[in-house]
Symmetry: C2
Subunit: 192 residues, 2 copies
């Protein structure tokens, strides 16, 4: 019980990890804790559009834990090129430390979820990754370009980075996003 309390207080730190996206209607940057909550909600509502049948309960748990390593490493924008292997190794060390605060069995369960998400090979992980990749697209589209505009990310770069994972996990969502991204491009939301 003491272990659980220390663990849950350690998780407080994820509320202080800021992402590059701003919640629609707010000036500040989003943090990884509230982002994880919203992904779980998006997964539940989108589940019937998953590319194949998924265990939604495992998807939810995966999304709840997938960013916890950022407590030690911080968030890195998905458009950053290179350095991903080092970052992922650092995140793995971080989740080993944090989940290691729990009993071996509990810690191992969370670590397995985190690794399944990172592996991206099960239907659950593919769907979870599609949801994770789609959410900032929805936010930026609703925010006149949001973090794309702030960071000078081109339309082509967005498509290259988000299309494959979203298509792989939730093709129907990609069909809709493709249309909206094209509209946004015509409206001049992206850098030339």
């Amino acid at each position: 019980m003491e272990q659980i309390i220390n663990f849950i207080l350690e998780l407080e730190k994820l509320k202080g990890v800021t992402r590059k996206v701003r919640p629609v209607g707010l000036e500040r940057y989003e943090n990884s804790a509230e982002h994880s909550w919203q992904l779980a909600m998006l997964a539940v509502t989108l589940v019937r559009y998953a590319e194949s049948a998924v265990d939604i309960n495992r998807v939810i748990r995966m999304l709840l834990v997938h960013d916890i390593g950022e407590i030690d490493t911080g968030d890195t924008m998905v458009f950053v090129e290179g350095g991903w292997e080092e970052r992922k190794a650092a995140e793995l060390a971080a989740v080993r430390r944090i989940f290691g605060m729990l009993t071996e069995e509990e810690g191992a369960g969370f670590l397995a979820l985190w690794q399944e998400f990172e592996g991206g090979e099960t239907p659950e992980a593919r769907f979870a990754r599609a949801v994770d990749r789609a959410m900032p697209v929805l936010q930026n589209l609703a925010n006149a370009g949001g973090s794309w505009r702030e960071n000078g990310i081109s339309y082509e770069r967005v498509i290259r980075r988000v299309a494959p994972p979203i298509k792989a996990g939730c093709p129907a969502l990609w069909e809709l996003l493709e249309v909206r991204l094209e509209e946004a491009r015509r409206k001049g939301i992206f850098e030339a």
Copy 2:
């Protein structure tokens, strides 16, 4: 699909609903979205201490949706006396509006979870409510009194308001909190 996107963007607003507690180590107030994420994590790690066997997946979903009505009503500190019936009626109207953005089936599912949590009668709802009530206690204990001190809440008032729901849903957690609260009282963390 359009409905889901509008719904998920509506949920952005929960990130702007502030509570009275500050995350440990941060100056700002906590918001209800990141709070919901943390409750889900606390429920998963605490589940073997639940008062009776629970379907943890329903508990998680309940906790993910339980504060969504605050998008329209804002958060009210649990120590405010009176006015709870009106506030709960307003929250019910709010969740009807927000879940009503989805198809009838999806919306009804979320509404049932919200109502189950509010009713507090099933083992799942009792455990979820214990987790919800315990989290700010853990935060305030780790924060030299936190929102109790800021709002002049006495030891007796804390016990009166948090002991029954935590005992009902997670008695082992209450045993530990009781000791820590008594220690905190001796250290002078509460108003006299």
